[in-house]
């Protein structure tokens, strides 16, 4: 009997539609966000993450409608991210029905933003989203750095240090994406996940690379993640969330059934 490990389907939203790209290119349409959110809720998803990948002004309005619609029909926690830059962005998302917001690029641009956000809205709703890429060579001790702009722009920030600093600033959870694995279906970077999870006291969501149900198990068992996030294996009907939970339970992981 213990706290359950969470399974979190992620919906990348572009102009009001759910899409999924491979390494942020080659985007495929996966459907209507409200319909998909309802389906995952029925299958037993523990939370949902929405990432707005357009984040233009018009797309913002569309996203807010999506969040409102989902929040009035689906009674599980919703995290929304993508283009969150100001305290007002956060306020608007929370009042549309988001329970947490994910901050990524804006934290890199100005780390104090995370502190201000946590002080204003509480750590429980501030998720630090970080995109990390391995920078160490073969034979060297493993090291990862934070990248922005879909993995194209290096920041020189050490990923483990960054996670520590952001939780000290008040981030209540970390959404950790491996840019080496995202969209590949090769499985999580479990070394990265374990390194970050061991460095911070807050929950860590592993993201990037899930292609099979065993990858989800690995994220928890090998990566010591508190939650696992996946998109394409659910969107394209390869597996249901219920199947994912059954597989995790078989592996001895505590889940909500």
């Amino acid at each position: 009997m213990a706290l359950a490990k969470r399974i979190i389907p992620c919906l990348d939203v572009d102009k009001g539609r759910v899409v999924k790209g491979v390494r942020f290119v080659g985007i495929r349409d996966a459907g209507d966000p409200v319909e998909i959110a309802r389906r995952y809720d029925e299958q037993g998803a523990d939370e949902l993450v929405f990432l707005d990948i357009t984040a233009s002004h018009e797309a913002r309005e569309t996203l807010l409608h999506v969040v409102k619609d989902v929040a009035s029909q689906v009674f599980i926690p919703l995290t929304v991210g993508g283009g969150v830059r100001t305290l007002d962005d956060i306020r608007v998302l929370l009042s549309a029905g988001a329970d947490k917001v994910a901050i990524n690029t804006a934290a890199v641009a100005r780390p104090e933003f995370v502190k201000e956000a946590a002080e204003r809205f509480g750590s429980q709703c501030i998720v630090l989203a970080m995109d990390a890429k391995q920078v160490s060579g073969v034979g060297e001790p493993k090291r990862w750095e934070i990248f922005t702009h879909g993995g194209r722009k290096s920041t020189g920030l050490d990923a483990v240090e960054w996670a520590r600093r952001m939780t000290a600033f008040g981030a209540g959870e970390i959404l950790l994406t491996s840019m080496d694995r995202d969209g590949t279906r090769d499985g999580f970077d479990v070394d990265l996940t374990r390194a970050v999870s061991a460095a911070v006291s807050v929950p860590v969501i592993a993201s990037g690379g899930v292609g099979s149900l065993d990858h989800l198990v690995d994220g928890v068992v090998k990566g010591r993640a508190d939650a696992v996030l996946a998109a394409s294996i659910f969107h394209f009907g390869d597996f249901t969330v219920a199947q994912a939970k059954a597989r995790m339970r078989q592996a001895g992981i505590e889940v909500r059934l």
Binding site: F75, P77, G97, E173, S201
Partner: protein, 212 residues
Amino acid sequence: MTTVAVVDYGMGNLHSVAKALQKVQPGVEVIVSDRRQDILAAERVVFPGVGALRDCMNALAERGLEQTIIDVARDKPFLGICLGMQALLEFSEENGGTEGLGILPGRVLKFRDSLTDTSGALLKVPHMGWNQVRQSVPHAIWDGIPDQTRFYFVHSYYVMPAQRSVAIGETDYGGDFPAAIAKDNVVAVQFHPEKSQQFGLKLLENFLQWNV
């Protein structure tokens, strides 16, 4: 028609609470308000909240609502959720020590940093996610909800009432803590029923039908 006031004092996601109440009983009139007269006029009161207790107490003070909450907690069916539960106690360790409303004797404590589970693994704080609630005392809010059902939690502090007998539900996170408490017309839960899918909605429905 039943009216239920959701106390709006700028602390968190009230819309999901209001939406959830509407969903479980479409006939209910849900009023989200920070006005004393609305809260006093309602038949039932829901007192939600997320964030830090000091901000919560300041926000109540700014709106002149402390006495209103104390008054309605005396005789109306009253549901505190998360921070709205913690604010009912006398004192919290949060923000270097903060006084609460003192409606229930007891304190609010922080989860220690070194908590471990039965396998010895270090537990994360905040306690975030779906955990089981043992229904230690029968209560109308548990109607139709199986014992040990999982609810969604997100918190770093928990209540420790002076009389443990007011606890009606217990959750294990490095040891048991009171996840639900009840005294007379007041019931309060640490988890978020409005985010706890069908059984969370069931609990809200039970609250709306509760005859004190």
